[in-house]
């Protein structure tokens, strides 16, 4: 026998009436002190709405009637008698204890971590393969024209020098048996300085400054091989898609705050993405390293080139945790290891 105090509402008017509720093992009965309310229903005809925090519980009766009770223990006992509602009872149990909640926090963090580290790169790779070449081409040309407007001036290299580099590039491409239709673009950029970029459709931009920085043909070849790797492995498209994925995750998680503090949302995005591009740089270095070893040159040309690039950007190492290029010394170390692993 369960007995408790409750407030009854008939569903026709907003009138609140005090009642005593009793449960005899089968029926739920309601009685008011003045005797105006005398109700009796099978418990299975009634719906016990799920608990929420420490709020009074509401039980729905047939014909739109209901009652509300602050006697949480009694209603919980009644709920056990009635059975059912298992899912929401489990959820309420989770919500009522700190330990499972801590578990949820850890679980949620683990899921987000796994999604960012594994799922996004995987999905981005699959999606990059599905994107038709025409779209890649349009996007690449648009990007180049934007870059041209903002950073680049026409190259001032001599026609001879350009032909030499074209020929060098052709040799590398033939040696690597590449799939793409490549196009070399020569640009001058005092703003950016020595650098090289690869656009997804196979356009490789090299600045006059990097050509001048390279001490010999092998060093230049190491840079070109590195850029070819970015194209062959579709790093450009993949990083665009990964960016979209991270943006999605961050906006879902920070949904409540992004509108007011968009900076709070950008910081994790930058951190995650520098991690992604570090992975791509390492991959491209490895690809270029293997090519250089295959030519019998060893990885020294790329190591020297990286050293020189670092020297030409003095602020480079201090920015590594935010920069797209991993620590130069780390990259050089990786190249040394790669070479050692190839020496019999």
């Amino acid at each position: 026998m369960i007995r408790f105090q409750a407030t009854y509402f008939d569903g026709q008017t907003s009138k609140a009436q005090a009642v005593v509720v009793g449960y005899d093992g089968q029926h739920l009965s309601l009685h008011s002190a003045d005797g105006n309310i005398q109700l009796r229903y099978f418990l299975k005809e009634c719906v016990i709405t799920p608990a929420s925090g420490h709020a009074p519980r509401i039980i729905k009766l047939p014909d739109n009637q209901q009652f509300e009770s602050g006697d949480l223990n009694a209603v919980a006992a009644l709920e056990v008698e009635a059975g059912g509602n298992r899912g929401m009872r489990a959820v309420h149990w989770l919500e009522s204890h700190w330990k499972p909640v801590a578990g949820c926090l850890a679980g949620a963090m683990l899921c987000v971590w796994a999604f960012i580290v594994h799922a996004i790169p995987f999905l981005a790779e699959k999606a990059a393969d599905a994107i038709p070449p025409e779209i890649t081409r349009t996007v690449s040309h648009k990007t180049l024209s934007v870059l041209d407007k903002r950073f680049f001036e026409p190259s001032e290299l001599s026609a001879e020098k350009k032909t030499d580099i074209q020929n060098l590039f052709q040799t590398i491409a033939d040696a690597l048996q590449v799939d793409f239709q490549y196009q070399l673009a020569f640009r001058r950029s005092p703003q950016i300085g020595p650098n090289a970029f690869a656009l997804p459709a196979g356009i490789i931009v090299i600045t006059d400054e990097i050509v001048e920085l390279a001490a010999n043909e092998r060093e230049l070849a190491s840079i070109l091989a590195h850029e070819i790797a970015h194209v062959e492995k579709r790093h450009g498209l993949r990083s665009m898609l990964q960016h979209a994925g991270v943006f999605f995750v961050v906006s879902v998680l920070a949904g409540d705050i992004t509108s007011i503090t968009s900076t709070a949302g950008t910081l994790p995005t930058i951190l995650v993405e520098s991690g992604y591009s570090r992975r791509f740089e390492t991959e491209a270095d490895e690809f270029a390293g293997r090519f250089l070893i295959g030519q019998g040159w060893g990885t020294q040309p790329l190591q020297d080139m990286l050293q020189r690039l670092a020297a030409s950007h003095p602020d480079f190492p201090s920015l590594t945790w935010l920069s797209s290029h991993p620590d130069i010394q780390q990259r050089i170390e990786n190249l040394r290891k790669l070479e050692h692993s190839h020496i019999p």
Binding site: A16, G53, I135
Partner: protein
């Protein structure tokens, strides 16, 4: 949209800050009546646990649980809101919300596909969104009121779809033509659409507010914004000339500029937050204070300064805690807003009558269920 952050029935039914207005209307009323304050009994700890479980289950189920999460969140906020000893109730079914989420999800996927493959048709999708927006707003208002109840009597939204199109499609089109002069009028119409069409059982609410008051609110904001931008520019100019005078090395100059820009950014954030809170408080207080439900009146007495302090400290707490204090912040703001809302009535709250449900047939129920969905706006 009309109901910005919280979705409580109470908030969905807003009252205004203008103390003078409240005093004068009270003086004009035939009887002063009894004041019943809203009470909010939610706790940050409890809400945090619900929020965390929601987050976890939503992630694990790939977003499906989001609909259940929404119902649990709202039920928590509603049932811990009390008036004259009784709690509000949120009775929506998660499946209806799931349907709304799926519709929105499909729309977003469609938008991205079109954007990627047929970028030229981009404008058409945006246009389509504008065309369905009034329908979605209308649906959501109906949904959220219909599934809100108090003392076992449902709230209702009586506004028409036609009115929604006039308010959310027609008027915005006139904004550029009138050079923005009708923006306050538009705000007035949006509030009116909501407050004038609310009903509790058979008792419909009436909104006596006037567009003129919105011109006052927006006018003040405009003056404030213009003078702040002006002051800001003067300050920045002074700072730069100062720096140019003192800084010898270019490097030092560069760092100072970075600091100046950062400080400027925070000031802008502060000003924007202030304007948002100002607008919210003025509109909210005014609308509630000008709304009647039969002989029952509302009284909202939010203060801009207090809400601003709450907002800023909430933001700080959220950023410092990496988001973990979001639930605490929400409970705190909700408590302040609700505890400054009262109802004034000379009769008891026992005398409201439920509306007769239009169609009790099984077919009617099924159809109503099918067309019921909630879209988060």
């Amino acid at each position: 949209m009309a109901t910005e952050t919280l979705h409580l029935p109470t908030q969905s039914l807003p009252v205004a800050s203008d103390q003078k207005m409240a005093v004068s209307s009270r003086a004009n009323a035939p009887q002063s009546g009894n004041i019943h304050p809203f009470e909010f009994t939610g706790s940050a700890g409890e809400y945090f646990r619900i929020w965390m479980v929601n987050l976890f289950l939503t992630i694990v189920t790939g977003g499906i649980y989001a609909a259940w999460a929404k119902v649990r969140t709202r039920r928590y906020l509603y049932t811990h809101t009390r008036l004259d000893g009784q709690a509000f109730e949120y009775t929506a079914k998660p499946t209806a919300i799931l349907k709304g989420n799926l519709i929105v999800g499909a729309g977003v996927v469609l938008y991205f596909l079109i954007d990627l493959y047929w970028p030229t048709y981009n404008l058409i999708t945006i246009l389509a969104l504008y065309l369905v927006m009034p329908l979605l707003i209308y649906k959501s208002l109906r949904f959220n009121t219909r599934y809100s109840s108090f003392r076992n009597i449902r709230f209702q939204f009586m506004g028409s779809l036609k009115e929604s199109y006039k308010t959310y499609l027609g008027l915005p089109l006139l904004i550029p033509l009138t050079l923005g002069i009708i923006i306050p009028y538009w705000a007035y119409r949006r509030k009116k659409y909501f407050f004038d069409n609310m009903a509790f059982g058979v008792s419909g609410a009436t909104f006596k507010g006037a567009a003129g008051h919105f011109y006052k609110i927006y006018g003040l904001i405009l003056i404030l914004a213009v003078s702040l931008v002006f002051l800001y520019m003067i300050g920045f100019g002074l700072l730069i000339s100062q720096l140019q005078g003192t800084m010898k090395s270019m490097d030092g100059f560069g760092t100072s500029i970075v600091y100046a820009i950062m400080i400027g950014y925070f000031l802008v954030l502060l000003v924007i937050t202030f304007m948002q809170q100002y607008l919210y408080v003025r509109e909210n207080n005014y609308c509630w204070n000008e709304t009647n439900l039969g002989e029952l009146r509302f009284q909202s007495s939010l203060k801009v300064g207090k809400l601003l302090v709450i907002r800023l400290t909430n933001l700080l707490a959220i950023v410092v805690s990496l988001g973990l204090l979001i639930p605490w912040a929400k409970i705190r703001r909700t408590r302040y807003i609700l505890e400054n809302l009262n109802i004034i009535t000379s009769s008891s709250l026992d005398e409201f009558t439920a509306a007769i449900e239009p169609d009790e047939s099984a077919l009617g129920e099924v159809a109503a269920d099918f067309f019921d969905f909630e879209v988060g706006l």
